[in-house]
């Protein structure tokens, strides 16, 4: 009967040759071997070995996959919890263990473990704290004790190197971490507790309850420059006074973690992305050749919130539903609201080649700075529409440019909603330019207001009033 999820033969360790095929790469007396054994036994006792993925860190435990007869993933330094979450979200049935040392977890990987702990998606974290960097040869770790010698704290860890980080206490502050315990390996009682803690963390994951975090104070005789038995005593007498042993957090939580199965039914996918095989009705008889033979460009400009982008999008959508090519490209200032907001629209018979509108056929300006900036760019014979409610002076325009004042804001206010001034402008633009048909734009308006039918009437009225104003009928 298998009692451990460790391989009988370590085929990946130096190709499994000789003694390496049966022994670990760890130094004599290192605590990692014990931590491995306890995880491996717990996996078998819970019956989850086959569905387990061990995520190995960078550090001494980088070769975890030599030993664990489970699925294995080796992560970049510090990123094991992020990798573990990737596995868990891919396959929620997998039991995912993020196994990390103190440098990996508490230095370079602090952001990843903190956010995994706050998130609380059920994974199990085994944190092996030996207060030193082992693999790189005995440098200071975030958990190195005050005064402790290391190759990078030659006079002992002092004030300039800060104090040791009590990681489990930090993790326990995170809402998503439901169980946090600090264990040790220095005697039989501690080893038993450690194994039970690991098993508990795994069970919480298995039951979909939450994230379990087990810190293990572990011996590093090599870099502590101690015998194995001195190292055990050091954990018992020194380390565990700085890092107190015991349960730090143990919350009751109901199982909650489930994920739906990914859906690949074409109907659902097409509904989600808004695709349809139904052709929208066309209203235009042909391309508006009276403006340009192949490509009409329009600029809508105002301040953020004026609705220039929304109006531009409506134009683009309407033009595309008429079978033309059309593009809309915005240009915003850095502010989310209230900055400059320009939109360039092209409507082309075949293909929009260049989507910018440096010399538009028509300009719609919602404020004075926009009109000032762009009026002179409108090409000869073109059209300028401006909101005469807010703009008092009109700058020079090229020869033959028609300038049409439309009191967009005043009309919108009369209609009881200042936000529809862009639709007023759109109605005016349609009337003055005859780019598409009114019905095309009204249909696009209706589609964009799907689900907000109470807004349709006021928008349609705004469109009509804009048209009347441009025609001089208002």
């Amino acid at each position: 009967m298998t009692t451990s999820a460790l391989y009988t033969h370590f085929a990946r360790h130096a190709g499994g040759a000789g003694l390496k095929g049966a022994s670990t790469h760890y130094c004599a007396g290192c605590g990692h071997g014990l931590a491995h054994k306890f995880v491996a036994e717990a996996l078998v006792e819970l019956g989850v070995q086959d569905r387990t993925i061990m995520v190995s860190p960078v550090g001494c435990a980088v070769f975890l996959f030599y030993y664990f007869d489970t699925g294995n993933t080796q992560a970049a330094h510090g990123r094991a919890p992020a990798v573990a979450l990737g596995h868990k979200l891919a396959n929620p049935e997998a039991i995912v263990v993020s196994y990390q040392g103190d440098g990996d977890l508490a230095a370079i990987g602090l952001a990843e473990i903190m956010h995994a702990a706050q998130l609380g998606i059920p994974i199990s974290v085994v944190f092996v704290n030996n207060a030193i960097y082992g693999m790189t040869g005995g440098q200071m770790a975030p958990t190195t004790l005050t005064g402790q010698w290391s190759t990078t704290t030659q006079d002992g860890r002092g004030p300039l190197q800060g104090a040791p980080m009590r990681v489990s206490e930090v993790i326990a502050q995170s809402d998503g971490a439901m169980y946090v315990e600090r264990c040790a390996l220095f005697d039989q009682k501690q080893r038993k507790r450690c194994k039970n803690a690991i098993k508990k963390a795994l069970r919480l994951q298995l039951e979909g309850r939450g994230l379990g975090f087990v810190e293990i104070l572990s011996e590093c005789p090599t870099h502590w420059r101690m015998s194995s038995r001195e190292a055990e005593a050091h954990v018992r007498d020194v380390l565990s006074t700085v890092f107190p042993l015991g349960v730090i957090k143990d919350e009751e939580r109901q199982p909650w973690f489930t994920l739906p199965k990914p859906d690949f039914s074409p109907e659902r996918v097409l509904a989600a992305i808004g695709a349809s095989d139904a052709a929208p009705p066309r209203h235009c008889r042909g391309f508006p050749e009276h403006i340009d033979a192949a490509d009409v460009s329009i600029k809508l400009a105002g301040a953020g919130g004026d609705g220039a982008q929304t109006a531009a999008l409506l134009l683009t959508k309407a033009a595309i539903s008429e079978g033309f090519d059309s593009t809309h490209i915005p240009s915003y200032g850095p502010e989310s609201r209230g900055g400059t907001s320009y939109a360039d629209v092209h409507v082309a018979r075949e293909e929009v080649l260049s989507p910018g509108a440096p010399e538009p056929h028509a300009l719609v300006a919602f404020n004075a700075p926009s009109l000032e900036k762009f009026a002179s760019t409108v090409r000869p014979g073109g059209l300028v529409i401006y909101d005469s409610s807010v703009i008092r002076t009109v700058p020079d325009v090229a020869a033959g440019v028609r300038v049409v004042p439309v009191p967009c804001t005043a009309i919108a206010r009369e209609l009881g909603n200042a936000r529809v001034k862009n639709v007023v402008a759109l109605g005016a633009l349609q009337e003055a330019l005859r780019l598409l048909e009114p019905a095309s734009l009204l249909a696009a308006l209706g589609r964009s207001l799907a689900g907000k039918s109470e807004w349709i009437a006021v928008n349609e009225e705004a469109f009509r009033r804009g048209g009347s104003a441009a025609a001089g009928r208002s």
Binding site: R79, K88, L259, T316, L353
Partner: protein, 452 residues
């Protein structure tokens, strides 16, 4: 009567002599050894079996899995190598003929990914790519998928490493500063041979730069994907349509080569809205045999980029390089516009290619011999397709929104192909300014007239 207990057995070759069992033994039956074991070079402990009552506490204290146990370790025993399961291939599901949709570039890429079977998206908000993540966050829950907002781009790429390592299609949206942060993880993906799709909506740098369009990362995506011998197929769209099509294609390429694929868009493409035709089919992903999925069938699998044996690591690199050579042979993509017989050949990719196309149309209308060659793959550079128009071309004009990063790729490709002697002119903009149609037109006229 003595309790029946399994015998405690020391495997002296596997004992490193740490002595942690000594204090664990209530009978004080174990002592440090004095003799050096001939095969291990270590001094194993000794057990006094006259005192030992086989309680087994020493086994629990032994850090070596096979050092102390209940039986002699059998050095001849080999576990049966676990065979890799058959791959479940992805399934292509036909779609009805659909009306074109109107999509913003970032949204088009997101929908391309959804149609390619991607239901797991990770990301960190960054302008001008964020709309892609936002749409995924809205749509994926409707489709049994997951959008996870990561704590950083570093975490993002590592979520992808886990999810892609489980064999599923996964992707992210980012922009240049965020892409810089993902490079480490991309190197790991390449090393571990894992798929993943990165839509990088490039913006100007260096540093924070700003949020406009720039082709700022051509160097990174072609030559700088983190440490090591790294390459990935880089696709450069020019429209919302290509944002969808190339993102859709990126997933198949990522799985075919088990390598990341980059869609190198720019801020302009991310934000532009246009007409998009939908493909005639969508994909339901399978599960590759190599996946670390988390079940019995896939238990023997391993995703790693560490190889301790130097010769093996060289072979691993050679194997990956062979994939790069195959990509260079098979995956070059390009488009041309009136390039046949053109005396002046404009080279432009991404959004500037769109302006270059308009300028070419104007030059041709005036009877000038100009054409456009547009690399669709920035890496591998489509040098094979460039040979034909180069036969008639008298000069090249590289138009780009960067300080010559595309031109460097062109020059390297020409040099590797032993093509020399053709004058190369350029028009460049940076900072969010794109080359305009007028500028391209003027540049082509200028270089043509100066040469003559």
């Amino acid at each position: 009567m003595a309790q029946e207990r399994a015998e405690v057995v020391l495997n002296p070759e596997l004992c490193k002599g740490c002595g942690r069992c000594i204090d664990a033994c209530p009978k004080h039956a174990i002592s440090l050894g004095a003799e050096i074991n001939q095969s291990s070079g270590m001094s194993p402990v000794g057990i006094d079996y006259g005192v030992c009552n086989h309680c087994g506490l020493c086994i629990t204290a032994c850090p070596e899995p096979h050092g102390l146990g209940h039986h002699q370790y059998d050095f001849t025993r080999r576990a049966d190598a676990q065979s890799r399961p058959e791959s479940v291939p992805p399934r292509r599901i036909p779609l009805p003929e659909l009306e074109p949709v109107v999509l913003e570039g970032n949204h088009a890429a997101a929908i391309g990914a959804i149609l390619a079977g991607c239901r797991h998206v990770f990301g960190y908000p960054i302008t001008p790519s964020t709309e892609g993540a936002e749409l995924m966050a809205r749509l994926l829950p409707q489709l049994g998928g997951v959008f996870l907002q990561a704590c950083s781009e570093v975490a993002t790429v590592n979520h992808m490493y886990g999810c892609g390592g489980a064999g599923l299609p996964t992707m992210t949206f980012t922009s240049s500063p965020g892409f810089s942060l993902m490079l480490e993880g991309i190197s790991y993906l390449i090393g571990a041979e894992l798929p993943g799709v990165f839509v990088n909506v490039m913006r100007p740098g260096p540093g924070l730069g700003y949020i406009g369009p720039e082709q700022s990362d051509i160097k990174l995506v072609c030559r700088g994907l983190g440490h090591g011998n790294t390459h990935a197929i880089v696709l450069a769209p020019t429209s919302p349509q290509e944002m969808l099509d190339l993102t859709f294609a990126a997933f198949e390429l990522a799985f075919r080569y088990r390598n990341p694929v980059v869609v190198a868009a720019d801020g302009y493409l991310g934000q532009i809205t246009g007409r998009v035709s939908l493909p005639d089919s969508m994909i339901e992903p399978g599960l590759p045999g190599w996946a670390v999925w988390g079940d019995k069938a896939h238990k023997g699998n391993l995703n790693t980029s560490i190889l301790q044996d130097w010769a093996e690591l060289e072979r691993h690199n050679e194997r990956i390089s062979a994939k790069y050579r195959e990509m260079e042979r098979r995956e070059q993509r390009s488009a041309t516009y009136r390039a046949e017989g053109a005396h002046t050949l404009i080279i432009a990719a991404g959004t500037p290619a769109r302006m270059a196309k308009a300028a070419t149309a104007r030059l041709r209308r005036e009877g000038r011999s100009a054409g456009l060659f547009q690399p669709v793959t920035l890496w591998p550079f489509p040098i094979d397709a460039l040979r034909e128009p180069l036969k008639r071309a008298e000069r090249l004009v590289v138009v780009e929104a960067s300080d010559g990063q595309l031109e460097d790729e062109l020059r390297l490709a020409l040099q590797k192909a032993n093509i020399g002697g053709i004058p190369i002119h350029h028009l460049r903009h940076m900072g969010g300014i794109l080359p305009t149609v007028d500028e391209i037109y003027d540049t082509v006229r200028h270089v043509t007239e100066v040469e003559h």
